[in-house]
Amino acid sequence: MKLWIGGAIFVAILMGITWMMAGGDIGANDTMGSLAMLGALATAVIAIFVSIKYVRQIQEEKAGGELADENWDGIGEYKNELPMGWAVLFLATTVWAVWYYLVGYPLNAYSQIGEYNEEVAIHDASFADKHANLDAQTLVKMGESVFIVQCSQCHGLAADGIDGKAANLNKRIEEKSVRHAIVNGANNLGYAAPMPDRNGLFNMNTGALITDAEIATVSKYVANGMKGAGEDVFQGTCAACHGSDGKGMEFVAPSIADFNPELVATVLKHGKKGVIGAMPAFDLLNEQQIKAVGAYVTSLSK
């Protein structure tokens, strides 16, 4: 009796902790998750209670039977019959296996890819409604969850770029990135006409190519959120493409004054290589997720 109770307590504790840790993550229609939990329970229960059964036999019954003639180094052998339960189960599982293989699920009756397609269809359908009606705030929240799973490995959980290892997304752009774009031009984002390098950047105000000093001031100006000295250079050199407020012009150049969802989508589509490093193009996300992560990144610097 003590054994049985002890066994039950052990199973309960083991399953209890497992459930506490992992139970909350079984999705509503994740049969595999539930089956795995069931499997774990079955393992614990059967193993413990079958062992106890045999321990009881060791404690209480007595061995006996007819001995075989042979004897090896003093070891004898009883001619006892097979334990009934064992024999029946062996036969039953064998029959089941043959049935399963020949009748239940014969050779090509099942396809894991078919199963996958169904899983995806059900999953997508169950979120379609929700995604159609997201308000701005919820969209940002959804974006954050995408960001943490897909982007935080590079940009960091706080999107701060981890000490300059990737772009800091709490701020539109750093001075050195602006300078890099001006000096080397930029051709990451798939615009029909890329940004020329410094040898193609005329300052309308002076009528000459942009100078070192002007690059320095305008870089500071842009990195500063379009504030401070350098506005004249910007208006004279950059505004033609990036707009006088720096917010970009459709089909011409991206916003460099702030993040917006389209810019983020463009970066995700094309990837980006700059002074900081390289970001790959991302085709892992669906449209809804791109929209959401765009909203999230945009919200960071607001």
Binding site: Q112, I113, E115, Y116, V120, Q150, A166, D283
Partner: protein, 230 residues
């Protein structure tokens, strides 16, 4: 019958052998040819990539990382399209792994870049706080074994007809050719040229210096390999 077998070790052994060998034949033979046909777009490895693959194997990265994306929504969301048999046609040995202490790397080339790997292999926890992956700093100093990579290319080309120097059909209908050099020296030169492309995106000065002096550090080969996983 069993009693008789128990008195005749030789026939006993034969009976056991037949019993166990039978299953193996049924399991392995029927599918052998089909499973090894490459999918469209699957290319053999270049010399530098193979050298990197050897670095991966030498350090048993497969002890922690799988390269097998199973057909579940949760895996294709995380890692990309599920794996197809023919994508592994040029993998000798296969590197599926059996434990994911770290994430799957089957398509890591789609989501990480050279400079990220450089930072990460130097100090994983510095990039991903809480990472338990070891740092692999000696790879920034050890030289990759290009000779053996070239030997492997020659071997698989000769023995298994791996199509080097032949047009390989790509998904978009075009073809690409993976070169295999005619001599070791040429192979080394090719690998070095590939290494220079990688190293241009890296920041570590020692690595840059090594490549400039004609040597290829293990890390560069490894990154070439990781970038090829798509």
């Amino acid at each position: 019958m069993f009693h008789w077998l128990e008195k005749h070790p030789f026939f006993f052994a034969v009976a056991v052998f037949v019993t166990i060998a039978f299953a193996g034949l049924v399991e392995i033979l029927p599918n052998f040819a089909e499973a090894s046909r490459p999918t469209i777009g699957t290319k053999p490895y270049s010399t530098l990539e193979l050298a990197g693959r050897h670095v991966y194997i030498k350090n048993s990265c497969n002890a922690c990382h799988s390269q097998l994306i199973r057909p579940f929504k949760s895996e294709t969301d995380r890692y990309g399209a599920y794996s197809l048999s023919g994508e592994y046609a040029y993998d000798r040995p296969f590197l599926w792994g059996s434990k994911r202490t770290g994430p799957d790397l089957m398509r890591i080339g789609n989501v990480r870049t050279t400079d990220w790997h450089e930072n990460h292999m130097w100090d994983p926890a510095g990039v991903v706080p809480g990472s338990i992956m070891p740092a692999y700093r000696w790879m920034f100093a050890n030289e990759a074994d290009v000779d053996t990579a070239y030997a492997e290319q020659v071997t698989v080309n000769k023995v298994f007809n791996v199509p080097y120097n032949k047009p390989i059909p790509m998904k978009d209908g075009s073809t690409e050719t993976v070169p295999m050099a005619a001599s070791l020296d040429a192979a080394k030169a090719e690998a070095l040229a590939d290494a220079k492309v990688i190293v241009a995106d890296m920041k570590n000065q020692d690595v840059k210096d090594m490549v400039a002096s004609g040597k290829i550090p293990e890390i560069v080969a490894l990154i070439a390999y990781l970038n090829s996983l798509k």
